[in-house]
Symmetry: C2
Subunit: 391 residues, 2 copies
């Protein structure tokens, strides 16, 4: 194996892991080479031997791969619960880590992973590929530059995560508390939860959320969520996610003292106030008037539509050159914190302050696992699915 | 005074009442004639004598007008609290009634008004002029015809009710618990609260709401509201209203088993599923697929842009010919019920079941009136305002 390229191992060859292994094997990440893969299913390793080329070693467990000495860095694409333990084992083996989202299922395990990452000095990233999307990057840039002034309202209707019963039935672990630890918040919308805080630069101070569990579907986890958030600066937010709306909506509106941004249908519109609202309000004497607003179509940069590859490239660059990461692994805890707060609020029918009480959350989750009436076999292998998964 | 036309009295000559008196005096309501007006302010009666013509009698109180024998019907456009008492006094005098919105400030007084209306046998209407808007009429028609199937989600961001501090300062009664009994829910968005239930044909079973009181403004009532609603059929709703967003948004999205309607920028778009979602879900086996949806621009009828006049015309028609009302007065309690439930939920920081406990609401409102620190003089006369008020 050549040593002038960073040798990558991929852990888990499900929908996402096999895609990562594919573009790495095709040499689409400069400076990196796919050196090895690991999966507990022999059938998937057989696929790897056939499809990924002879130079790629195969291992029946993550630990064997970590211990092999054949890789410098690992991309972990196993089920959510496993990410923190496997990442920590990789750090112990001296390996750089890129984990798939979500960072984990509860913040306690993710905090421990983050502490291990910090102690290791290794490069730790998370597959928040939507941070590479020019639309969301531009929103973040405009807000960070002060174009909206102080933020006042954040409203995301992100209900275009349609999943049929056949999707849920395609794998025994799917949509169970024991298997995935959550539903639409844990599986489909972790990117949106990350962007909700990454674009705005704000974490809520408290959350009140309402969840439908198994709504219009035979599953036990949440698949319909309406969450209300309050922020320290007085702003409020609403986050609505669902897997049973057809067709769903993806509309993100963020308003502040100086105007309003709306992202919908892949377009970004900015209503810019000539004079900030507080200044107008302070000086205007006429009664019914309102600040003058200009409607602006914001130009968006062409971006690499292969966001996953772009994250992997950035991670490899960080390993090789020390370039900063677009999505440091330690930041995965933020979206998960929002997810945990929303579920805990729905379970307890009350407010949840942030940061979430991590012990309370683990206890509440374990109660749901213990009480689960899911008759699915969590060991059952998944079946191949048509179409695409979480982008 | 000629008797072949219905003789109308207008009670209250503020912003709305003077507008109603104006089009009635100009003969813009067939079959009706403006016979009299009443207002407690002599200056406004002077305006009436100058502007409305010599045939229009003027009275210093509503009761004098009711007792005059000069009118057959009255349009009541006084402050909100007065609507139910004045309507009941009018019914006792044998007069048909059209009240401005809201029907009143709390449901107990409005229920009593409704009972008096029913007992009187007179024609009772409410100025829900937005029910004449072709956009909202079409949404209601499509839903009533079953085009969406069973409803699942209702989401209205109706934040384009900007009001500056100068608006609030323009009248001593404005934005006080004693003077108006509420803020954006009571003054600016009663039409939206009515349409929220009229378009869908659904009242929520319970509501959880979050209000900012005096947010970015020196007032004591709510001017920023996020409300979550649950319905008996499992549907959920979100209603967001504000007077401090600039520019605000008016976007109403309603989705159901057969598709989605979105009203924004005066346009109505229907995403129609070829096969209903429940049927697709029952039969589809492919995993990630979703029902095929067709995007349709719904044509809207040209309507009378003078919605107020249209409501008054319909009321006069109902008096003269027995034609059905677009907005029966008795239905005013529904939007008020939503308003009261939202305020009570915010005050008590908890769920409110519908119908609202009317005694509990009155008590909670009285506590706020008693605790009011408003330094405004509630007797102070208003000043004329630029621009337009609630459409």
């Amino acid at each position: 194996m050549e040593r002038d390229r960073t040798r990558i191992g991929v852990i888990g060859l499900g929908n996402m892991g096999s895609a990562h292994a594919g573009y790495l094997a095709r040499g689409e990440v400069p400076g990196a080479v796919l050196a090895a893969v690991a999966d507990c299913a022999e059938a998937r390793l057989g696929w790897a031997r056939e499809q990924l080329g002879e130079g790629v070693r195969t291992y029946g467990s993550a630990q064997e791969l970590f211990d092999s000495g054949e890789v410098d860095a690992v991309l972990i694409a196993t089920p959510h619960y496993a990410h923190p333990d496997e990442a920590q084992a990789a750090f112990r083996a001296g390996l750089h880590v890129l984990i798939e989202k979500p960072a984990g299922v509860y913040t306690k395990q993710v905090r421990q992973m983050n502490e291990a990452a910090a102690a290791s000095g290794l490069v730790f990233a998370i597959m928040y590929n939507q941070r590479m999307n020019p639309l969301y990057r531009k929103m973040r840039e405009l807000i960070a530059d002060g174009e909206l002034g102080e933020l006042r309202r954040i409203n995301w209707i992100i209900t275009d995560w349609y999943r049929s019963q056949s999707y849920y039935d395609s794998g025994g672990w799917r949509a169970t508390w024991a298997g995935e630890g959550g539903g639409v918040l844990m599986n489909q919308s972790p990117h949106n939860l990350d962007l909700f805080q990454w674009i705005t630069g704000l974490m809520p101070s408290r959350i009140r959320a309402f969840c439908g569990f198994g709504k219009h579907r035979s599953i036990e986890v949440e698949n319909d969520v309406t969450a209300y958030a309050e922020y320290e600066n007085g702003a409020t937010g609403v986050f609505i996610a669902s897997t049973c709306d057809a067709p769903g909506t993806n509309r993100l509106e963020i308003s502040g003292e100086r105007g309003k941004l709306v992202a919908e249908d892949g377009k970004l519109t900015f209503w810019r106030l000539r004079e900030s609202e507080p200044e107008f309000n302070r000086t205007y004497q006429g009664g019914f008037g309102a600040p003058e607003a200009w409607r602006i179509d914001i130009p968006l940069a062409a971006g690499d539509p292969q966001h996953h590859r772009a994250v992997t490239r950035g991670w490899v660059d960080a390993i090789r050159t020390g370039a900063p990461l677009a999505a440091p692994g330690e930041e995965g805890i933020r979206g998960l914190e929002l997810c945990n707060a929303m579920l805990l609020s729905a379970w307890t029918d009350g407010w949840v302050e942030l940061p979430v009480d991590e012990e309370r959350y683990v206890k509440a989750l374990q109660e749901r696992i213990a009480a689960s009436s899911s008759r699915k076999d969590p060991e059952a292998a998944g079946v191949p699915l048509e179409g695409k998964g979480t982008p």
